[in-house]
Symmetry: D2
Subunit: 337 residues, 4 copies
């Protein structure tokens, strides 16, 4: 950490800061420039981060030097984390997760699970609890939906990925799901993250709609810190001024995460764009950029979907995309190896 003093800071102002640093047992290096005095702090960053430097009127800025996360960093663990779920090896092969946005009926989920399996998907997704901006929209089937997802798994063998919307539902969802999903809106629900850090099932952590990659990795850090190291990151688009797509898929986040972390990272082009036709080219782009997989929405009949029909692939479209991806997979070079 480096502390920049304001122009005109007196020797006394500088010593007040130095004193505070030494009180917690750390070392301070003072370096006087032509205009500004700069104080370097050497030692444990955790302790430093708690000190109220900013409250000193003559402190202009505090510049952190260390990355704020540890356990998720590639420096901490150089080799990639591989997470095994069913037949999928996330972090080692390119994995496709597919299914409907929301669970509507047993028939719908079982049919969809069958067809995505046949086309090559390795995990099945579906939402039983839906976060909706408006209180007047469909909110999901709840536990009944979870039971239907379990039925689909029984029928197909595909492990189930589903969202935990409320921290009070973790136990319930845990009983039915193979991978516990954290939605974008909950990425900084730190209490939920901690709770999930105490589970022994993988967590799929979606990036918050306006979170930086660093904040996303810090959210993952909350989970790892409690003991659960099985975290799959999922890029799902960030809020920007572009209105032609629902969100903006931050494709650069894939190689950026790979550089800074050992965790697997996948891409959700369905939520990122909200437009069905853009899903196949962006799934290819995700693969080319080094992602460990994609998660896409498929619906047997998008025109009757209770949510997000505009972004769901039809069974035919999904099959065509899977065949296309197969060809590209042969050229794939995972980043970060």
């Amino acid at each position: 950490m480096v502390i920049v003093m304001k122009m005109g800071a007196s020797e006394e102002d500088v010593q007040a800061v130095v004193k505070m640093i030494r009180q917690v047992g750390l070392e301070a290096h003072v370096s006087r420039g032509q205009f500004h005095t700069v104080i370097g702090v050497i030692g444990d960053d955790e302790k430093v981060m708690e000190l109220p430097f900013q409250a000193y009127p003559m402190v202009e800025r505090v510049v952190p030097i260390m990355k704020p996360y540890k356990l998720v960093s590639r420096e901490f663990r150089p080799e990639p984390t591989v997470i095994r779920v069913g037949e999928a090896e996330l972090g080692s092969e390119f994995v496709v997760i597919a299914g409907p946005c929301s669970v509507e009926s047993e028939e719908q989920v079982v049919e969809t699970a069958r067809l995505v399996k046949e086309a090559g998907a390795k995990l099945f997704r579906g939402g039983a609890f839906k976060p909706r901006t408006s209180p007047y929209s469909f909110q999901g089937l709840g536990e009944e939906g979870l039971r239907m997802l379990a039925r689909a798994r029984e029928e197909t063998g595909l492990p189930v990925v589903t969202e935990v919307l409320d921290v009070r539902d973790i136990e319930l969802v845990y009983q039915y799901a193979d991978v516990l999903q954290v939605g974008a809106r909950n990425m900084q629900n730190f209490l939920m993250l901690k709770e999930l850090g105490r589970q022994d099932k993988p967590v799929l952590l979606k990036r918050g709609m306006s979170a930086t990659v660093e904040e996303w990795l810090l959210a993952a850090e909350y989970i790892l810190r409690e003991g659960n190291h099985q975290v799959i990151l999922c890029e799902r688009g960030i809020k920007t001024f572009e209105t032609g797509t629902r969100n903006t898929l931050d494709i650069s986040s894939v190689p950026l995460v790979k550089r800074n972390s050992h965790l697997p990272v996948i891409v959700d082009p369905s939520h990122a764009t909200g437009i069905r036709e853009l899903v196949p080219p962006l799934a290819r782009a995700a693969l080319a950029a080094g992602a460990d997989g994609v998660m896409v929405e498929v619906h047997p009949n998008p025109q009757q979907a209770l949510c997000d029909g505009a972004q769901s692939l039809t069974p035919q479209e999904f099959k065509a995309m899977m065949e296309d991806l197969k060809a590209w997979t042969s050229l794939r070079k995972p980043e970060g190896r």
Copy 2:
């Protein structure tokens, strides 16, 4: 709701959409332009919002006509809502809420409560649970902190505003608090909003960091819909590209909310800027723009604050600001009357 068909949509495409509209008992007006056919839907917007128009490949866009909220709208209730807490009348007079960012000790809170009361504050704020981006930062004192806040109320008579961070803590916080605060990160925690909608104490709803005013009003709608009509909106800055301040105080949201809603709206210049010196001019600006109050951070000794010391006013600064505000209050014209 207006549905715009793509160029080249056939009569059949148009009729498929019309049929769906009529099936739920609504009326459809088809109007054919030179290039696009447009279908107007007349009737209950709630039902319409559930229909999967976007999944029809020849639908280009769906344009909602009605505002998506009702109970919070000025059209629903033309006169302003006034919320009485202690001696404050939010929605009728200009109210100052003040206190430390986080509760650190009984001594600190009681001392701060006394001094803000003396200077003219009508409510006392303080955080017992703190949401922190990093798992390595101070997370608050929890129930112990709540007890200290209650002590401060006993000593001063000031009602207590404090944040509910976790939906599981509502009951606990309810026992100690007079106003239940929802933080920016929880603005779209819909399950928490619903739960708070069933309480009989006022809710202070902070605007999400990248929420629009419409999304914020929709979040309030979740609370009103469950029966609790005592909602105080709090503008606390939105995420922008400006780096000179922590967030960007959206001062326009004050008259905008007043135009569209009957709920009281206050401003938190401390969190919006993160810079102590900007708090007094922005508190004045909030008053001038028609806000119903401000919420500011005060700490007896900002240099020892465990959180956000840089934005906390000293007792002297707070006193000066209060005197200044008193003069301006005489000129105040609340918007929306």
Copy 3:
């Protein structure tokens, strides 16, 4: 400037950077932390800014310490700059600039100039060249419009503020205008800024739609550096996710500019919001926040305006606003004194 080396940087990597610094005659302080080595550079920041540190693979980050601007800074010139135009003293009293968005006819501008003068405006604004996103919109009257503005000045004595849209038109606009306006889209048109830096008339520099305050001050620096110290900054809203207003008025930028610069800063609530009803409360807020003035749109008949009618005040609304502002002005405390 502080250079942070990556974890694992060797002594050789560090020395390569140190060597480069010393080659340009500057001093380097190396400080080795537990994880990272940090190199402080002492000396002239201009030279340092040109060095290609980022190209060294083991350099993690370069942290500038000095503010990147000089002539516009309060450190360079502690007392506020006062700019006299006609009877206005920008930087010393609260000044209202008013007029139509675009010049439509001589009658329109002369009539508007008369009525804004009568209500108390000290400068007259009007656009002869209009930047329009669509090539199919009204683009302004050009030189004919400038002549009409000059007529309005003749009739009323009000100095004229008008935009230079094209660097090739500076000479032309100079002949007719008293203050040369740079629009938001040209804030980083550096060649135009330099040219305006060689003129002897004041420049009104609007903030770019997604510029930070620092970038805005750097743009002003371009003008001052060429010799023209008469720059009036104008906050006109920044691009955010809020859709209820056209842009988001960054009210905090007013006290922030006042803290960091000696230049006068005014606010344009008409363009910031695009909504007529929000103009008066935001003009009041600008005054309360310490702005040196406001610039607002007035049209004798907004329903016939060729541009931006929705945000133009009627003569009656303008008059009411001026009376209201007069009362508030008595309480005004300019920031930065």
Copy 4:
């Protein structure tokens, strides 16, 4: 265009709007809903866009139905535009444009041109005029730089792409360049766009840093409208809250442009990220998403580059990327065919 009246609009309010529409010779369809009256306008959208609907106090919103651009749209011209420059066919094959950020010396540009040609690039890029946020940074070599670029073309046969920074330099740059580049900051410099629309050389139009795809296409419309149909769009990243990369590469814009326009679109991963290591995976992603090419920065010695060294590939890195791209090209499926 659809005009939504406010709740409570009287018959008179509605008729005033209808009258205005009919006065310009267009047809108005009035449709009365339960809460709102909606007026559909049928006819020429250009005329409608000029009408000041928003100035009518009882008009709530104006919803445009048509896309605001024409000549650039796929509806206007269904088959893709192919632009031939030297041996490249932009819009038909995957083309790599490469070269240094800025021209530094004849030796540097000739050497770089040779090596990028050898590795397979089809066009050469280099900046003679550099837009810089700070007046204290290197601003480019100007005409001398253009002459050096011409030398590189003589030596290698590679056509030259270079930026026009100032509208007054178009003639000068035209003499030396094969493709005239418009930088992100000039994307809405409408006067420059019009001037370029009168040239007979291709224009490479970079997307503005916070422009939507629609605004970008509207900027291209300005050029086509004057007669120059040879426009190459270049996605170079948009401003977002992500700080790990310089900008956020909006990869979705590639298939989105292909859907809506016939113009070729390429990607600049160097400026989008500012990080050398991210350039190869993102170039692959661009190809996979259906882009018509990429533009990348290469420097013989990035550590001595006068600008943007951190994002320039070394000759070895560029060669490796080109070989990798060759393999992927075989699988390429251009979008929009």
